[in-house]
Each structure stands twice: as C-alpha cells, then as structure tokens.
Amino acid sequence: MSIRTIIYKNIIERQGKTILILLGLSLAIAALVSVVAINRSIERAVGRQLDDYGFNIIITPKKQGFELEYGGLTLGSVDSGAADTLSAADLKTVREISRETGGIRGLSPKLLKRDSIGNTDVVLAGTDLRQERQIKDWWLIEAGRYPETADELFIGQSIADLLGLRPGDVVELHEEQFTVAGILMKTGSQDDTIIFIDLDRLRQLSGGEGKLHLIEIAAKTTADVGPVAKRLAEALPNATVQSVQEAVRLQEHTFDYLLRFGLGVNIGILTITALIIFTMTASAVNERRAEIGVLRAVGFRRSVIFRIILGEAAALGVVGGLFGLGLAILSLSALPLVLDSTWAASLVSAGMTVETELVQDFQPVFDATLLPLAVITAVIVSVGAGVVPARRAADLDPVEALKSL
C-alpha cells in the first residue's frame, strides 16, 4: 500500500462526487478541445484556399465593365473593347518595386481573352509560361508535360474534359494551330477552366500589343503581402491592387471572432467548473475531518495530507481530461455531417461563398497536441481548484478533527 492506494480508494469510495466532478470537467474540456480543433480546422481550410489561389496580390486596371471572376476576385471586363488595360510601363514599375522591396517571389503578367473552340466558350490566359509555373509551384500535371515552346498550350482539367482534349491534340485558334502539351491536374480553382498560352502569341492573335489585363504577384512570405501591396498601390494610381490573402483573411476574421467568443465562453465554463470542484473538494475535506485527524495522529505530515488531497484532484484531472478529449473527438467527428446539411446550405442561401467553401472544406483536425492540451488544462483546473481545500485539510488541527480524542 502507498499514498497512491489511499488516493485511488478514496476516489472510488466517493463515487457520487467523483462522477459529478468528472462530468463537469469532461464537458468543460470537451468544449475547449472542440473550440481549438475547430480553430485549427478553419486555419487549415483557409490555408488550403490560399494555396488554391496561389498568388497573393492581383493588379488590375481601375475602370472595368462587366465582370469576370478570377482567383476568387471579381475582375472587370475583358476583351469588351471598352476596358482599360495595364501597360508595359505598369509592368516595368512592378518589376522595379520587386527589386526595391525584395518581397516578391515571382510575378506573372496576364492577358485574358474570351474565345471559342468549336461551339464552346473558353478563356485564354496569355502569360509568361515559365514565370506562371514559378509562382504556381504546387501545380501538378495530370497528363502530358508543361509547355516548352510558344506553340504549345497548357489546359485546365475541367475545360480539357469539356472539349475532350488530350496531350498531343491540335487546337486551332484564329487559324493558327497549337498543340496541347499537358493537362493541369484539378486544383479546385479557376485554373481548371482556363487555357494557358504564351503571352506574346496571344497578343499576336488579339492585337493587344503591350497590354495586360492583370499581373499576378507571389510575395516571398505572408508578412510581405501587406507592405508590397501598399507600395504597389502607391506606385500604380490607375490600377487596383487587391490582396487575395486579405480577401480570405477577411472571412477568417469572421470565424476568428466567433472562435474568440467560443474561447471566452469556454473560459467561463472552466471557471464555473473550477468553482464546482472547489466547492465539492471543500465539502469532501469537511466530511473527512475525522479521517484527516486519524492520518495526522498516526504520523502523516501536513505536507502528506496536502499531497493526498491534491493527488486526488490531479487524478480526477487526468481522467476528466481524457474523457473530455474522447467526448470532443466523438462530437466533432459528427460535425461535418451537420455542417454539410445545414450550415453550408444557409451560407449558400445568404450568398456567403467563401464561408461556404470553408465550411464545406471543414474536417476536424485532431493532432497529438490535443492530448496534452486536454489533460494539462484539466489537471490545472482541478488542482487549482483543490489548492485551498487541500491547504485547509493540511492545516486542520488534529484534536479538532478528532473530537473523540
């Protein structure tokens, strides 16, 4: 027998109190773990969206006609005859800022053109294919290879499937022939619906010498996005500089607010749980006065009594933390089903597209750090709530405790 035996048997003996403490602690920890896991899930979903968009900044002309979606942003009129375009001078300015700030990893100027192949409308994106590949280094090739000459095309998988195109197929555009070099593996972004073509070749076809519809820029780090975007906006007063990250982060802030609220509620729950544990432990100490008197009489030091009471609290903390973690895993595992059927539908109907994507992307993230988070938090709450009652128990006068003596 050891001190641990006394702790263990006492916990078992006081089943009613033990179950109540474990119940409160498990629910509080489950709520905390759920909030943290949801937070991580959303961070991951946001990160995935940023990856999908690939670039951090888009520069477009300021005046625009009807709209075209690109990269999660609404762009202006393309090839409508009335839209303004960026110039070669704008591109030069961007390159200068790239050298000046050192915060740009790569940039890809683009000329977009609506066209048709057969009876199918398509969007051609004229770009420096080498630079495009450089800033979209996550691209995977579904079939074929990446273009090596200006007569080759790289095609998004969705439009390739629609047109029935495969690597090696020849496509005629404005009476000029191009060979499909490769098919881009599905990215889940607008790139799946675009035909990528050499920028100069598209200019020859469309007659847009020197003109650009947009410039995509990849910043070196997330921290570079803000300063670079600001510097570009200052240098290009006739252009709109949009940060894709900002657009997504804006949505993230909405979730962040909700999560902060959740964590605030959670702190409240943990505080209430701590108060419940404090009350129950204090009550248990009171009930155990005679027992504590016996232990003191047979030679248990105050420090040992203190350790016994806190040991019980710590043991309940460990068990409560594990139960709470298990409860959180069970409930969060069921959450995507609920989100798919209800929340996502309500977001769609409210027109909240980015939020909808985040919700649809939601998969609870369970990693190894949740275990120490759950157990350590539960132990801190339980032991923290037990300190004062344990101190009182240790300070009990054995004569007072043992009224019979």
Binding site: M1, I6, G299
Partner: protein
C-alpha cells in the same frame, strides 16, 4: 529524568482555553512521570481534563505552560512536522470511535502508520499483527464487514504495528458491548504483559482492572495517583 525508569515526563503542564475574561483552565500544573512498561489508567468525571491531557500526551495539543519529555525529546519544542514524525515513531493511538478508514481493508488500515515510513514489507508486518490479535482470516475485509470487536482488534493492531514505545487509548471500549469489552481489555492486558507502555483514558472502573496505576483527575488537577485498588 531518570532514563532507566521513566519513559515520559510531564513538568508543570497547564492548559487554558479562551481569552482573559473567558479563560477556562483545563489542566493546572500537572507533573507526572510514567515508566516504560506501565499500564496507566486516567479517570475522572466529565470536564476533569482527561481528554485534554491525552491530547497533550499525544503530541497534538501544545500546553499553555510546562514541558513534556519523551526519551529526552522536548516534544513541544519540535516543529509541527517533526511532531508528526514523533507521533509516528513513539505513539500508537486507539480512538474511542476506533476511526478505521471505511474504504481500506483491515490489513490496509493496519498498514496506515507504516505508509509514510521507509519500512519494508508493510503487508507482512500488518498481517503478522492482525494474526496476533486473532484476525488472520479477515485481512481483506472492509471495516463494515467486521463486528464491533473485530474492528476494535484492527484498531489495536493499527496502534501497535509500528511498535511504538507508548500506546494511548481513549475510552477504547466506550462504544462496545460487555463481551467485546472483555475481548479488547484482554488484548490490552496481553500487550502489557509484553512490556508495552499503555496510557488509557476511561470513565469506567471495570475497564481499569488490568492497569497497574490509576491517576484520578478533577478540575484539571491530579487528585490521586497510585496502584489500582
């Protein structure tokens, strides 16, 4: 203090409770010496100070004045934690309500004083003592599964398992029927024959039959101290 004969010495022990105006004197100038191997019974009417005296002898209640020495140790000169060590090493307690821990088995209750020592073979030692008090077949019973007499035996076994020089008993038969009382007193007599020093507080003259010294208290003072008649 004569170490050859005297194990315990109380010198000028007084105990008062309350402030000046409400002061109550529980013990007044008690001077006692108790030799090793004595079986001392302390008797007195309610409020005579016998429980206070026992709690002072038990190193759990600091006297207002005076000293208590055991084996040349000034007990109340020790820190609170060292007093706990003293109780563990020098004293065994048998409480009036026996005070067995309800969630521990008989053998675990007996092991209790040994848990906070560096003693080895705790279970073997506790088992041996329980066998000595005739409970070898009930080691793993909870107190609720034992009769009153058996619970008393477990309480005595717990008090002597660490082989303390002094055994303190507070009305150990107060809650027992007459048959069980005889049983328990028989055990005390047996321990006394084995040279165990015993100090027992009681209000029942019948229970002092095996004691070899009787101290009578009244109003916090020793009014008689001599052999049991």
């Amino acid at each position: 203090m004569d170490m050859k004969n005297n194990l315990l010495e109380l010198a000028g022990i007084s105990k008062t409770y309350g402030e000046e105006r409400t002061k109550v004197t529980a013990l007044d100038e008690i001077n006692l010496t108790i030799a090793a191997g004595e079986f001392v019974a302390i008797m007195g009417p309610s409020g005579s100070g016998k429980s206070t005296l026992l709690s002072i002898l038990g190193a759990m209640n600091s006297p207002s004045t005076g000293h208590m020495h055991v084996d040349d140790i000034d007990v109340y000169g020790l820190s609170a934690e060292r007093q706990a060590d003293f109780r563990r090493e020098y004293l065994g307690f048998v409480f009036q309500q026996l005070q067995l821990l309800p969630y521990l088995t008989a053998v675990e209750n007996v092991m209790l004083p040994l848990v906070v020592t560096s003693a080895k073979n705790l279970e073997e030692r506790a088992t041996a003592v329980l066998e000595r008090v005739g409970l070898s077949g009930k080691l793993d019973r909870l107190p609720s599964e034992l009769s009153g007499g058996e619970q008393g035996r477990v309480a005595i076994a717990r008090a002597v398992v660490n082989e303390p020089p002094i055994l303190l008993a507070d009305e150990p038969t107060g809650s027992l029927d007459s048959e069980t009382t005889d049983d328990i007193l028989g055990l005390f007599a047996e321990l006394h024959r084995d040279k165990q020093t015993i100090i027992m507080v009681t209000h029942n003259m019948e229970t002092v039959r095996d004691a070899n010294r009787l101290i009578r208290l009244k109003d916090g003072r020793v009014v008689a101290d001599g052999p049991v008649a």
